[in-house]
């Protein structure tokens, strides 16, 4: 009985995982074919679509923009978010919860509303559209995530460790860098990666706030509107590789040595 139900559950789990991963696998698979359309049968494997992509200047431009934006968003939101979370953790629980709900408001709004609101705002205040406006726009939605994640870590935080550091001769600044930050660094890096991921694949807010130019998602959108070719799969594969590589890197970096 239990053996059978165990097997059923395992099969069900495998099915769910398969359904979730198949589209990703297909994207990677088709990015390496010679087919002119995204379809079976696959006759020959090649890197043709990557070469096509790499020859286009607008791809490199969009790629660069995406990296600039996602990188800036990750750095800014993790610094500001960590500071905010540290401050919130020192408030009373009731005050902190009220502040968190307020800060998380943007997450509960549809991205479309935020996009339009930002468009109107930048327009009225006369701020020229650029990558900077996109970064500000992304911060609106990534910031709450970073604050929530780091705050959750701070709730169970052992403040006696920080007190100990002070007691053993560390100034507040030294105590932060030698004890507080190493203790929460994994969480902060994880939060920065999530901010980066949100920024990398955001389309709506980018679309409303970028003015001219492209990021990878708006570039794909532009291509889909004109002609669907497998080089889109190549872009997808590149994004996937970037995400996995940066996660692995972040995990290695967060190991404390010292």
């Amino acid at each position: 009985m239990t053996a059978v139900s165990n097997a059923l559950w395992r099969a069900f789990g495998a099915l769910v995982v398969a359904l979730m991963l198949t589209p990703l696998a297909l994207v990677v698979l088709f990015s390496f074919t010679d087919n002119a359309l995204t379809n079976f049968p696959i006759e020959r494997f090649s890197t043709r679509w990557f070469r096509t992509l790499f020859e286009r200047a607008e791809f490199w431009k969009a790629f660069g923009n995406s990296l600039t934006i996602a990188g800036s968003v990750a750095v800014i939101s993790s610094v500001v978010g960590t500071l905010a979370a540290l401050a919130l953790a020192r408030l009373g629980e009731r005050l902190a919860n009220a502040a968190l709900v307020t800060l998380c408001f943007p997450v509960m709004l549809p991205a479309l509303v935020i996009g339009i609101a930002l468009l109107v705002f930048f327009n009225k205040t006369g701020v020229p559209f650029s990558l900077a406006t996109v970064i500000l726009g992304h911060l609106v939605i990534t910031q709450p995530f970073v604050i929530l994640i780091v705050y959750a870590r701070m709730v169970g935080f052992d403040y006696a460790a920080v007190d100990s550091a002070r007691d053993l001769g560390a100034s507040p600044w030294v105590a932060f860098w030698t004890v507080t930050f190493p203790m929460v660094s994994t969480t902060v890096i994880g939060a920065a990666l999530i901010a980066m991921a949100i920024s990398l694949d955001d389309f709506i807010i980018t679309f409303f706030t970028i003015g001219g130019g492209n990021t990878l998602p708006t570039y794909i959108w532009g291509k889909v509107r004109t002609y669907l070719d497998p080089s889109i799969n190549a872009i997808g594969t590149i994004l996937l590789a970037l995400t996995i590589a940066s996660t692995v890197l972040a995990l290695r970096l967060s190991r404390y040595r010292g």
């Binding site: 403040y159 006696a160 007190d163 002070r166 007691d167 001769g169 560390a170 030294v174 010292g258």
Partner: protein
């Protein structure tokens, strides 16, 4: 129980001097203006029930809580406004506060590294202190691989390696089970003897205070109600609170009029003092069942309960006034529960305190 140690000061100035030290959190007064002297070499206990302000007091000495008023001087230097990193104190925190991302050796060496002690000297001092607290074999472990008792030793070593003028310990044994607690008590006494430092610790456990300290300050509701050696505090409690907090005590209500005290339970005796309500405090081991002629105070009652506890037998007697008296006696006298009995004690064994 340690003998009441003589003051080690011999007229010298105290190592730690608290003057009018007070702390309020908003409208709540945690520590009322308080004076306290701690001398070099003392193993000093701040004893009191939870919420009496003892931990706040310790944290003020360590520099973690800013006093609302008063001064703290250590070694004659006013440190009231200094941060914890600038004080000659080190603290062992209740939750230990070990650095989870460092090994035991790195934890212990942390303070020396910040103080820029040369690598070779640092390594030597860390080794010596690990030997002293007997954790040399744990050097490369991380805190999450330590048991409670081991973590306690690491926290102790990390503070001691700094050679503080005063070592502060916040409920050092509270998180350990009974057997470990006994063992750590002995360890702490040995370490204190071996390095001859000044230790100040906070505890709510009177047995721990009696077993470790040579001086005890009993705290109640933010005030220090009595300070002295363990025996003095046990034998001559100044208030009813102290008498019942330290060990077991019988407290009987009475009234004094024109120098004569009359107990609600019947007996009376002459003792000069102000008129008003008084309490007589007497320890269970000082009360006799069927007292002999030398017992100046005698009361009648009914034997309610007898429990044989090994070293002594515990008798519970309900007096005719309804009050209870507990007697600890070494020899079972053979009285049966329900019988009428007399209890009594010598005048010099009781303490009289004002109020009820």
């Amino acid at each position: 129980m340690a003998a009441d140690a003589k003051r080690p000061d011999g007229g010298r100035t105290p190592l730690v001097q608290l003057r009018g030290l007070t702390k309020s959190f908003g409208p709540v007064v945690a520590v009322r203006p308080l004076d306290l002297d701690i001398y070099a070499g003392d193993f000093f206990a701040l004893l009191g029930p939870s919420g009496c302000g003892k931990t706040t007091l310790l944290r003020m000495i360590g520099g973690f809580t800013e006093p609302s008023g008063g001064t703290i001087a250590i070694d004659g230097v006013d440190v009231t406004r200094l941060g914890p990193e600038k004080r000659p104190t080190n603290m062992v925190f209740q939750g230990y506060g070990l650095f989870p991302h460092m090994t035991v050796r790195q934890n212990i060496g942390y303070g020396l590294r910040l103080a820029r002690v040369a690598v070779a000297e640092r390594a030597g001092r860390v080794e010596r202190i690990m030997d002293l607290v007997r954790i040399a074999e744990l050097a490369e472990r991380r805190p999450d691989a330590l048991s409670g008792g081991q973590a306690q030793r690491v926290a102790l070593a990390r503070a001691l390696v700094m050679e503080p003028r005063v070592l502060l310990l916040d409920e050092p044994l509270a998180a350990l089970d009974l057997k470990l607690r006994k063992q750590m008590q002995e360890e702490l006494r040995r370490i204190h003897r071996q390095i001859g430092g000044t230790f100040v610790f906070v505890t709510h456990d009177q047995g721990e205070a009696m077993g470790l300290a040579n001086r005890i300050a009993v705290m109640e509701a933010g005030s220090c109600v009595q300070e002295g050696g363990p025996e003095e505090i046990y034998r001559q409690p100044k208030t009813r609170f102290v008498s019942s907090f330290i060990g077991e005590a019988n407290v009987l209500a009475g009234e004094r009029r024109a120098g004569v005290v009359t107990l609600g339970a019947g007996a009376g005796f002459a003792e000069a003092g102000a008129d008003g309500t008084v309490s007589v405090v007497v320890r269970p081991e000082d009360v006799r069942l069927d007292p002999g002629a030398d017992a100046e105070i005698r009361l009648d009652g009914r034997l309610e309960d007898v429990v044989f506890l090994g070293p002594y037998t515990r008798y519970r007697v309900v007096l005719d006034s309804g009050e209870e008296v507990v007697v600890h006696a070494g020899d079972a006298a053979g009285q049966a529960v329900g019988e009428r009995v007399a209890v009594g004690w010598r005048r010099d064994r009781q303490r009289l305190v004002q109020g009820s």
